[in-house]
């Protein structure tokens, strides 16, 4: 076989050599290279324009609306320039925390399932379900929340809103956690099992710690995502000018309610949130509300940027740890 190949080789050598004229067209290739590489730089710069434009504009327009009352007082009614958005800030925190509580535990568990049983029917359905869920328009999820909680209960509530947000967050958590768990070398788990460890201990003590910072990133990104959402809240938490946790708690204590009862009472209230307030204020003809809307926008952007920066910090820390 070899000798045959060799003889063909000898036969073809003089014919074949010399096809490559390297110098030919070299200038043109070089020019094309530089042109297109330049273009990519240009579009990158171009893409940054709206970012700085938005942030700068919002900061300029929103800063005047920001004062202590903005954070500590309830709205004073349409047309009034005084008062604040305490209700929306507290509502956003409440909704975010609740939705995290609803989404994170099942999301994490499902992520483990997706990694350990990728090829069972449930595993396949799970990943497809998560993909579809992450693509379902948030307004549709709002409708779902409405049908699932609001309609049966007969009233809007923080619970309904946070469930809608949790549905929104769930796929994000599943997919990031899945990726992170998948990144953990398979034989780490095998290593633990080979020492005679039961599966759950291996997952809890070995796999999870190895993936935790990546998973944290997923949590934070999910939280960031939902804390800026408006659409699902339109038909679930609705909005509530008078929502104030402190007052609700005091009122509860005065009427002798236990702590869980107070909690239950709170989450049964309709609540406001920053994006919802922002949206509502922009629909108003009053300049005072428009002014406050910019303030809300600024607070919202800062809040979400903080979440994002925190998430990125986790990522870089994890990268550093992996290198270490």
């Amino acid at each position: 076989m070899i000798t045959q190949a060799r003889s063909t080789l000898l036969f073809t050598t003089p014919i074949v050599k010399g096809f490559i004229q390297a110098k030919k067209g070299r200038q043109r290739r070089r020019a094309i290279n530089f042109f297109w590489l330049g273009i990519t730089g240009v579009v990158t710069v171009l893409a940054l324009v709206p970012l700085f434009w938005i942030i700068g504009y919002v900061a300029v327009k929103g800063a005047p609306a920001i004062n202590l009352a903005f954070f500590t007082e309830l709205p004073q009614g349409m047309g009034s320039a005084s008062g604040g958005v305490l209700n929306a800030i507290e509502g956003t925190v409440l909704l975010t925390v609740l939705s995290g509580l609803f989404a994170i535990p099942p999301g994490l568990l499902a992520a483990f399932y997706a990694v350990y049983h990728p090829n069972t029917w449930l595993g396949i359905a799970l990943r497809f379900g998560a993909d579809v869920l992450s693509g379902v328009p948030s307004i549709v999820i709002g409708l779902f929340g409405y049908a699932l909680v609001v309609k049966p209960a007969g009233h809007f509530s923080a619970l309904a809103g946070s469930i809608a947000l949790a549905v929104l967050m769930l796929p994000i958590i599943i997919r990031t956690a899945e990726e992170m768990i998948k990144l953990v070398p398979k034989n780490l788990r095998a290593g633990a099992l080979a020492l005679g460890s039961p599966e759950w201990r291996a997952a809890l003590q070995v796999t999870l710690p190895a993936a935790i910072s990546g998973i944290m990133t997923g949590f934070l990104l999910g939280l960031a995502r939902v804390s800026g959402e408006t659409a699902p809240l339109l038909f679930t938490s609705l909005g509530n000018d008078r929502f104030e946790i402190g007052r609700l708690v005091q009122a509860g204590f005065r009427s002798g309610q236990s702590f869980p009862e107070i909690l239950y009472n709170i989450i049964q209230q309709p609540v406001d949130s920053l994006p919802l307030t922002l949206y509502k204020y922009t629909q108003q003809p009053f300049p005072a509300q428009i002014q406050q809307a910019w303030g809300v926008a600024l607070v919202l952007i800062v809040l979400i940027l903080m979440f994002n920066i925190a998430a990125r910090y986790w990522v870089s820390r994890q990268a550093a740890k992996n290198r270490g």
């Binding site: 590489l37 799970l126 379900g129 952007i301």
Partner: protein
């Protein structure tokens, strides 16, 4: 074990429940209007008072704004992704990437707000005027570029452009990750054969990452299709008997957002839910395509890797 299986079941159940609810709650509307709800008909009506509901205007609005968005965002995002992954010096890479991704972190209401007060007057109005002057005169293109853009700028074009800005970070981030995931060995192989960097990118990296890039595009498209608030704030929310980009329009999500809370009749809200069902259907189809792509290309490589 049962716990994690339960959690997984929950996810699947959620998806089914959403679809099921939408189907169930839109039964009435479907019985009344049947397939005519979907008919491509510009003169379609949406009249809560008379109880006449047809969806085509919203479907068209959603499709055309998403299309504009993806057509603009995809090439730009690819360019940015290439710059980030292949060209930018190491110290610039992370901050630049973060900045681009921060675009995605800005809540859509803020986009809407900024759009109304800044972007529409400053950019869209001018671009609209320019387009109607130029492309609006060309016979076939006339259909989508005719008419005069409103002075506020609220139009399908505006929605498309805002959506483009909003989905650039998504597509960029995913396709940048795709480029970064391409083994260094592929670049080295090409460069070691004497290819230029651009040749390496177009002939090796893009083909290699094609499925991922397509996935990124579909993800972006999904975002665009489902986006609600920003679009609602800039599209003008009006039913126009026109295909023009330069005129105000309506999308499926906007109409739900605007009308559901104040639905005047059961039929009205059922019609809105049917719109939501169509939206859900879009999502399923897009996801299905994305899966198929990934699965087809992915499984082939897996098979090959095993062989």
């Amino acid at each position: 074990m049962t716990l994690i299986a339960g959690a997984s079941l929950l996810v699947v159940a959620l998806m089914l429940a959403i679809g099921g609810l939408l189907i169930q709650d839109s039964t009435g509307a479907r019985q009344v209007f049947g397939w005519s709800f979907l008919l491509p008909n510009l003169g379609s009506t949406w009249n809560p008072v008379t109880g006449q509901f047809q969806g085509w205007s919203f479907i068209y609005g959603t499709l055309v704004t998403s299309l504009v968005a993806i057509l603009i965002a995809l090439p730009m995002s690819l360019g940015i992704a290439i710059f980030l992954a292949e060209l930018s010096p190491g110290w610039l890479r992370a901050p630049l990437g973060t900045l681009i991704e921060l675009l995605a972190a800005i809540p859509s209401v803020v986009y809407g707000l900024w759009g109304i007060f800044v972007f529409l007057p400053a950019v869209v109005v001018r671009a609209g005027a320019f387009l109607s002057e130029t492309l609006g005169k060309i016979p076939l293109l006339q259909v989508v570029f005719m008419g005069q853009i409103p002075s506020s700028g609220a139009s399908r074009l505006a929605a498309g452009l805002i959506l483009a800005i909003m989905i650039i970070p998504t597509i960029t981030a995913v396709s940048r990750d795709v480029f970064r995931a391409i083994p260094m060995a592929q670049r080295e192989a090409s460069l070691a054969l004497g290819a230029t960097q651009w040749e390496t990118i177009t002939r090796v990296l893009i083909p290699y990452g094609l499925s991922g890039i397509l996935g990124a595009a579909i993800l972006g498209l999904g975002r665009a299709v489902g986006e609600t608030m920003a679009v609602t704030m800039v599209i003008g929310n009006s039913l126009q008997g026109s295909y023009s980009l330069l005129l105000p329009g309506y999308t499926m999500s906007s109409v739900i957002a605007n009308e559901f809370a104040e639905a005047v009749s059961t039929l009205h809200s059922e019609a809105l839910i049917e719109v939501a069902l169509i939206l859900f259907g879009f999502t399923l189809i897009l996801n299905g395509i994305a899966r198929l792509l990934v699965w087809k290309i992915g499984s082939r490589t897996v098979e090959e890797a095993r062989a």
